[in-house]
Every structure is written in C-alpha cells, then in structure tokens.
Symmetry: C2
Subunit: 242 residues, 2 copies
Amino acid sequence: MLEKLKIVLSHTTHPGNIGAAARAMKVMGLSALALINPRHYPSAEATERASKASDLLANANVFNDIESAIADCRLVVGTSARTRSLPSKLVTPRELAEIIKQSPQNVPVAIMFGTENSGLTNEELHRCHYHVYIPTNPEYSSLNLASAVQLISYEMRLAFSELKHLPEQRVLENEEQITNEQMQGLLAHFEKAMLATGYLNPKHPKQIDQRMNRLLAKAQVTESENRLLRGFLSSIEQLIDQ
Amino acid sequence: MLEKLKIVLSHTTHPGNIGAAARAMKVMGLSALALINPRHYPSAEATERASKASDLLANANVFNDIESAIADCRLVVGTSARTRSLPSKLVTPRELAEIIKQSPQNVPVAIMFGTENSGLTNEELHRCHYHVYIPTNPEYSSLNLASAVQLISYEMRLAFSELKHLPEQRVLENEEQITNEQMQGLLAHFEKAMLATGYLNPKHPKQIDQRMNRLLAKAQVTESENRLLRGFLSSIEQLIDQ
C-alpha cells in the first residue's frame, strides 16, 4: 500500500521543501512523488535536502496541472490548514489512514499539499474526496511543508507497514529479572546491613522493609544489578566487622 | 502537560535544525527547549528556520553538559535510531505518550535528541528511563533531526492537548443531506428522464433504479446538489418536448 500513496506537491515555492519532503517520505517507506509546477526545480537545494532520498526526486513526475497529476488516482485527499468552509469531509491523519484501510481497492491515493503560503487552491480543494487536517497549536499552526509530509507519511507507515513498529530489542547479558527467592535474599541482606549500620532501629522499623520491597520491585532488579547491590552490602558489613 | 515536556537537543551540528525543531515544537504547543553545547548558536540560520517560533529560541536554555540540562526532570527519555543493546526499555512514540499519561506526576519530562550523525552518546543513553524509537523504513531510516522532533511533538499534542483534534467544520450553506422523500423524488425524476431519452428500456431495466439509488445514497446528496440534478433532468425533458 505505501507505494500506492502518491504525494502531490502543488506549486511549491522553495525547492528545499521538495527535497526535505522526499526524505520525509522515503524514511517512512513512501516513494511516489508528483510535482505540479514547482517554482524552482530541479534544484541543487532540493537534491541536498533530499539527502539519500534523491532517487525519489529522480523518479518524481512533474506536471503542469492538477488533472494530469491525479489522473490515475481513485481517492484524492487534500491537506488543509484552513478551517474555512471545505467542500468535503475534514478528517485527522489517523482517521484518513482508517478510511484508506477500509477501501484498499481505491488506489492509487493522491495526497495533495498546496503551496507554502496559501495552501491548495479552491480548484484543487474541490477535487478532494476528503480533507485531512493535522492537529496543531491554534496560536501558531504554521506547519512547515516537509513537516506536514513527514507527519502524514508517518501515520501511513504506522497504518500500512507490515513490519513491526519496534525492532527486536537485543537483551543485555544477564538482563533477566531476579527470581522472588533472590529478591527475598536481597531484601534480607539490606535489612541485615541496615541493622548493622544502625540505620534500621528494630524498635522503630518505620516500615523500611516494605518500602525497600516496593522500591526494588519497581526497579525490576536484574541478575547483574542484584550482584552489584549484594556486593555493596557485603562491603558495608566487612567495614563494620573490621 | 505540553509545557512540561522539555525537548533537549544535544550537540546539534546544524543550527538550521535547531530553528526547525523550535518551529516543530511550537506548532504542536510545546515550548521548553534546552540545548547542550550546540556547535553554532545563536545563529541567523536557526532564527530563520524557526520562523515565528523564535521566542522558543530566545527562551531556550543552553547548557554545557547533560547533568545541568536535565537536572530538574523526573522522567528522562532518549530518542534512538539505533537498535543496538540499549540500557532500558524501547517504546514507540505512542507508547511513550501512554507512559507519561499514566504517571503525570513525573514532570518535567526530558526528551533528548542526540547529534545528527551519531545520536545520543553512551553516557546520555544511560541517563534514560526509556528509549523512544520512531518506526521507519529499515532501508532508509535517516530521519532528519527536526522531523524527529516534529513527530514526537505531534504524538504529545495528540495525547495531551485538551483541544479537540479537529476544528469545527463550518457547514456549507444548504449542505444538509436531502430527506428520503426528496431522494425518492430525485430517483423518480432520473427514471422519467432515462425513459424519455430511451436509455432505460422498460423491458430490460437492468436494475438501473437500484444502481442509481445506491450511487446517490453513497453521494449523500445535499439540497443544492438535488436542485442541480433536478434542473439538469428537467432540461433534458424540455429538450425532448421541443
């Protein structure tokens, strides 16, 4: 699905934004980029900002009008920062992902981004089946163009990537949490050491045992951490025994 | 909560990224920015890329070491693109939002971003209670620094903004969907016109009535659209009557 989502940038003013958008797409696994009348393009700045996503720029199709850019698309979505009367339904990026998921046959999907200053034109807005609105701070909602592409691409990756969202986390050696028996041994060792230093007064124990139990449970003590703590406790006892 | 989330940028190389990060934060309603030994700062490029978020740069605190930058923070989170052995739990941005939500007392929260090329240092990684990993394309996972700040800030806004995610959509005049009675009238008008043009053959109706019903139901025809279609149908009839 990700390669069937076409990002359409209309009348982009700054070529750096085109490059940054290409990078934003590729990082999320999107690849289809269409440009409608970019002001400066091709451009060294676009290539530089694309970093290792310059293949998307090389494969990008450049069009003179919106009709040609979206001719092969079945679902057309516009991004809009404006809340003015829109000709079709306004959805969040996450809702958009859900809508696409429910009609996977409606590909290719065009997701259109207007010019930096004024967004999509009225003509472009009227081509859209949906409008997607990225939630922003009402006091400053000026999202950078490439940032908007990044956020939409991210939501699409979360919705459509078949890969797990988190890589396997390699377990550090001895990272297993200690058994309950080891935990009781550790707690007993703490109690013994605290008695030895005089910190724990048997007449006024102040629930120190329970509080230590809670603390160490929260810490999810591992084997190696257990050895570390026991070593420290033993060193205290040795000091006292001297 | 959003203003208690401190974005910490460590040893950032490109000042443009600092500015773009400030803009990314402000658009999502975050405001607390800390910088650890930025290579070039303050910088005209940072201010330019910050656009109208230069107040975040003006209020940013610059530190010489990580200890001072996170001294007041209770929960410390590192962003990591690496999947190598990490000293603490790896979570997605969405899971991180959930973790913060469940312990709202653990503020301020530091969310640390390392240098562009190599990320957080081992020393910094070991300060973290959690590591957040932004799902990316395994074939090209090089997320721009400001883009990473943008995505994390977006997830935090979705989780913590008390405002609705979508603005009220102003309803276009006469955008009410037609009543069932009007729908039946419209369908009857289509049938009449199709009979008049000869398109509909009463001997072989081909379920055209049902298919039109389905089509118009999907279209959720509004009052004004109903008038438009009826006007068109009437014009066909007039043409035939001449």
